[in-house]
Symmetry: C2
């Protein structure tokens, strides 16, 4: 029986999990993310020890510890190159964490961990060529080529959210204007929803928000399902952006399958059915060479833990 | 001494070449591209025999024959899937050509052949991770990962010209609106130049065209060099499109080097110097992780012949 440890280092919580040989997360431990690099590193080590103890083991009984985090990571140097959340720049995450732990540490981008999890045990199980978009606060991207995680030539690539969708368009958090992320993230959808609400004071979205609270990624989708015209237009345009972006990525990678993860994937078939149809017009020669299916990721947040735990295998 | 045969099958000419062990094209034979699939296949076989004879050899003395063509190719099945020039769809190019020749045939997209040539013997020699854009009638794309040609999961990918630049924008020849190709090809530059000339009747570009003939990809660049304001604006906008597109590809692939080939690469440093500067603002975290150099391809048309001849090695 081979257990593995995976850690999600997020902006609000450090979540450690034990993953068994069937890629199930069998023990979980979570603690709030503290302030400062040294503190966070010490807390991650403590979380690894804690979750190991829950399994009746010590960290030294494990082959390694894997960490996934929503940051630009250099897997070759083990450095966290850039994090929007913490504003850390080029910190030696692997090296410092290894000082606290008796086993090798692997670090990876959270979107890369998610696709590893999905490829090993989720919606892309058995697929050798996969792309995944995680639609949340940002748009995370992961790519698997020939069964292996692809990280770009120097390890810091596959920033699929930071490819152009509308050059010169809406400012992205990365500093570039018009990235896919600035049109297809949940953050972008919320912006698009607010703009539509402002333009359409009669839209049912106003009543929806009075009932449910602030505008969220669900506002437009829920009201579109009820037939609200302004909400339908928001969802229509959002799907078009997403289909166009996915089409371009298919033209580059020609994967067997495209996975959609993150908060927005919760919309399920209401999102995915039209998306599978619409993407055809954005895929080069799609009538001849076909279009891969766009499928909802299967594992939710567990994918990141599983993928982090298995970073050394990819 | 190992000689190889490479064939460029273009819209106007079939060009066969013998490539020596130093990747030099040592014999060349060219004939016009005829009409119809069977005729073109027979002509390619004849061109291979002709160029072999020029070297005092027979085709059976060669390990294989490689063919590059500006089409969507399935390297796994050997089928030419789609060609804009000839409107061929899903024809068994390799199979038919092998009926005429005593050795195995390899077929590839022309942009892929060009990057192979450049990686083996040109501007990307010794580089393991390369992307190349060929700026001509269209925008061809090639990708080398870990020293091997990458063709996408099913072999029909790396259509870098058919990724979004301005979603919903100018119609591309592929049927999608707003592709990189529809803003960064020479065809697009000519359109942009004509639009600027129409808007600026006093531009020096009018006199330039009276002297040099029809608007070409050189019109705006040559007049910009002379300081014409309208031409400078065309070149400025064109470079911005190109920089934005390249930046997105760098964010995905993080190559060691980006090559620019095709007719427009003839502009040399006047294009490449500002491009290297401008691309920085389109590369994710460029101030921390750096930007690969954008370099002119070195081999011109020979790259395609060399790459076709060496398709079996990649």
């Amino acid at each position: 029986m081979q257990y593995r440890i995976g850690i999600d280092m997020g902006g609000t919580a450090i979540k450690a999990g034990i993953v068994d040989e069937n890629y199930q997360v069998v023990y979980r431990h979570s603690r709030p993310t503290g302030q400062g690099f040294e503190r966070v590193v010490a807390d991650m080590a403590a979380a690894a020890r804690e979750v190991a103890e829950m399994a009746g083991l010590a960290v030294s009984d494990f082959p390694c510890v894997g960490v996934g985090t929503p940051s630009c990571i250099n897997p070759n140097t083990g450095r966290l190159v850039f994090s929007n959340n913490t504003n850390w720049r080029n910190v030696p995450l692997r090296e410092e964490l290894e000082k606290h732990l008796p086993v090798p540490v692997y670090i990876g981008n959270d979107a890369n961990c998610a696709i590893i999890g999905e490829a090993l045990a989720g919606a892309a199980k058995g697929c050798a060529n996969v792309i995944m978009l995680t639609l949340g606060t940002g748009v995370g991207g992961g790519v698997i080529l020939n069964g292996k995680l692809y990280c770009g030539g120097d390890g810091m690539g596959t920033e699929l959210g930071h490819t152009p969708l509308i050059a010169g368009g809406y400012p992205c958090t990365c500093g570039i204007n018009g990235c896919l992320e600035s049109y297809a993230s949940v953050t972008a959808l919320i912006r698009q929803t607010k703009e539509a609400m402002e333009a359409h004071p009669q839209s049912a979205m106003h009543a929806y928000c009075r009932e449910h609270g602030d505008v969220s990624g669900r506002t437009a989708f829920d009201c579109a399902r009820q037939g609200d015209a302004a909400a339908l237009a928001v969802v229509d345009q959002y799907m078009e952006y997403l289909a166009n972006g996915i089409g371009g990525l298919v033209n580059v990678f020609r994967p067997e399958i495209v996975l959609i993860g993150g908060g927005l994937s919760g919309e399920g078939d209401y999102l995915l059915k039209p998306l599978n149809e619409r993407v055809k017009k954005y895929v080069f020669a799609s009538d001849i060479i076909g279009v891969p299916p766009i499928v909802k990721a299967a594992l939710g947040n567990a994918a990141g833990t599983i993928g982090a735990a298995c970073l050394d295998q990819m």
